[in-house]
């Protein structure tokens, strides 16, 4: 099964590589905004320890990236009429689904790490220029939050995105629904950040992880050949 999942992921990664120009265009703005503009404009408050909004916006980026990549991975396969052929192969429905979700997570997370690197670099540079001492701008707890919660958020976004895509008839409708599905994540991130401790982080990870797995389970059940071939 792992071989089959990786096959599908490999294809998605190859498509992303071959389609690099379009990726750079669509992600260029996100990288510039989240990686440079936001940290540069809020550097002072972050260095003074008021990092909640910055972390919140950064974490929310996972929803935006995840939903965009889900559309590109799942909906475009339907639109380009390649899904039918994939369904005639020996791959099971679940492996096709999981391979695609893994690709969504890998590609989106790679972009997030790139943005995070830029974000931290920008903060350091602006901090030095404004005379703040040279140190890491976030606490370890905040940094773990930045690294781990978005990863689960990507699983949530892609699973819910697929669920929605199976109901949505066009890409515009899908985008619209995706924006709304990000709201609960935004609210949850906000409350976790308000009282961020190792305990709240672990509890939120467990709860969010469980919900995301549940949605993944539902999505896999809906993602079946008999339904997909008639869409």
């Amino acid at each position: 099964m792992l071989h089959d999942i990786w096959c599908v992921t490999w294809k998605e990664l190859m498509l992303a590589r071959r389609n690099l120009k379009s990726y750079l265009t669509s992600y260029g703005l996100v990288v510039g905004l989240w990686g440079v503009f936001l940290p540069a404009s809020s550097a002072d408050s972050i260095w003074r320890g008021e990092a909640t909004i910055s972390i919140l916006l950064f974490a929310y980026l996972s929803v935006l990236l995840g939903s965009g990549q889900t559309i590109s991975t799942f909906v475009s396969e339907r639109m380009q009429k390649t899904l039918g052929t994939l369904l005639t192969t020996r791959l099971s429905d679940a492996t096709i689904y999981l391979g695609k979700v893994l690709a969504v997570i890998l590609i989106s997370y790679a972009v997030m790490l790139l943005v995070l690197g830029l974000h931290l670099g920008t903060l350091m540079v602006v901090g030095q220029l404004n005379g703040y001492p040279l140190r890491f701008p976030y606490s370890l707890l905040q940094f773990v939050f930045l690294l781990v919660l978005p990863l689960i958020s990507l699983l949530y976004t892609s699973s819910l995105g697929v669920y929605i895509s199976l109901k949505s008839t066009n890409i515009r409708g899908q985008h619209f629904l995706n924006l709304f599905m990000g709201l609960p994540v935004f609210v949850m991130f906000y409350f976790v950040l308000q009282s961020l401790t190792w305990e709240t982080l672990l509890v939120s990870l467990a709860v969010f992880g469980f919900i995301s797995l549940l949605i993944t389970r539902f999505s896999i059940a809906r993602f079946n050949r008999q339904r997909l071939i008639l869409m």
Binding site: W10, K11, T82, T89, Q226
Partner: protein
């Protein structure tokens, strides 16, 4: 063992019957043409055989496996080209085949050898690194056929493989199907509404309309069984005034077309040439040519569809 067997296979969508009581058998190693107008139930049949949708009733067995309960075993052993070529336009030809070869668990060396072998066979090896989106529709169809053959399947399903292609590309794809069938020793299930293609390529045909099987057999067998009418062409030196009336009055003449000195008659049976010849001679006409015209598959197809519709109404 047959490559494909169906027993009273029926499929309904929301109460509408797309396929009704289809019972047929297909021998291994044949090119089987499944012929019918648009909406006849050809794609539904293919989807049922591949196990993509379950039947409402009846059963299909592909290579001995039940296409509903053992669909995964069926899909391991077949290749399919649906109505759309299903290629990833942004991937190169090589990567498209590489992906499907990986899916079918070919080892790295097997993949490389097989991809080269197939691309060379269809003359696309030199263009393997080009993105498929740059290619013509005919080239894409050839590549898609290669994709179906990658894992040496025992049956390939082709759904209208020449649809939307110009005549030259249609011919090219047809020739590739014949060449590949011969070299790969594979059974081909070919959905088509292209009668010329069916006649040229297929060893055996089935004609379907409105979800019902009308006839099945070798193309010539279908033609001889279905062609109850005779088609006679006569070329004469002159056309006396009363000849046309006399010909039309003959009880066995169903229709008469006159084009200059060329007569085309449809008679109740094919063996009326002698009687026609006698009548022409009686009228003092010199007969330059008199022959029985063979009936095309297209005429038989239209005749069968018409009869089926009359029967249904």
């Amino acid at each position: 063992m047959y490559a494909i067997e169906t027993f009273a296979l029926t499929k309904q969508y929301d109460g509408v019957t797309a396929l009704s009581d289809l019972t047929l058998t297909i021998k291994r190693g044949t090119i089987f043409g499944f012929l019918g107008p648009n909406g006849a139930g050809k794609t539904t049949t293919m989807n049922l055989l591949i196990g993509l949708i379950p039947p409402t009733s009846g059963q299909a067995r592909v290579l001995g496996f039940d296409s509903t309960r053992e669909a995964d075993k069926v899909r391991e052993r077949i290749g399919a080209l649906l109505e759309d070529h299903g290629l990833y336009e942004y991937l190169s030809a090589y990567d498209n085949l590489e992906f499907f070869a990986r899916i079918n668990k070919l080892t790295k060396s097997e993949r490389a050898a097989r991809i080269q072998e197939l691309l060379e066979k269809v003359g696309l090896w030199d263009r393997r690194d080009q993105q498929v989106k740059e290619w013509s529709k005919g080239m894409k169809q050839k590549l898609a056929i290669c994709r179906t053959l990658l894992h040496r399947p025992q049956i390939i399903f082709l759904d209208e493989p020449t649809s939307g292609l110009d005549p030259a590309s249609q011919r090219m794809v047809r020739e590739e199907i014949l060449k590949l069938k011969a070299s790969e020793n594979v059974t081909v299930f070919l959905n088509t509404h292209n009668l010329d293609e069916a006649e040229r390529v297929c060893d055996e045909l089935a004609i379907i309309n409105k979800g019902r099987l009308i006839t099945q057999g070798h193309p010539e067998e279908i033609k001889s069984t279905a062609a109850s009418d005779g088609h006679i062409v006569a070329v004469i030196d002159a056309l006396p005034q009363d000849l046309e009336r006399h010909l039309r009055d003959l009880p066995f003449v169903k229709s008469l077309e006159i084009n200059g000195h060329r007569l085309r008659l449809v008679t109740d049976t094919p063996s009326r040439s002698a009687e026609i010849n006698r009548l022409l001679v009686q009228h003092g006409v010199r007969v330059e040519e008199l022959r029985r015209e063979s009936v095309s598959l297209e005429e038989i197809f239209l005749q069968l569809i018409e009869e089926e519709q009359e029967h249904a109404s």
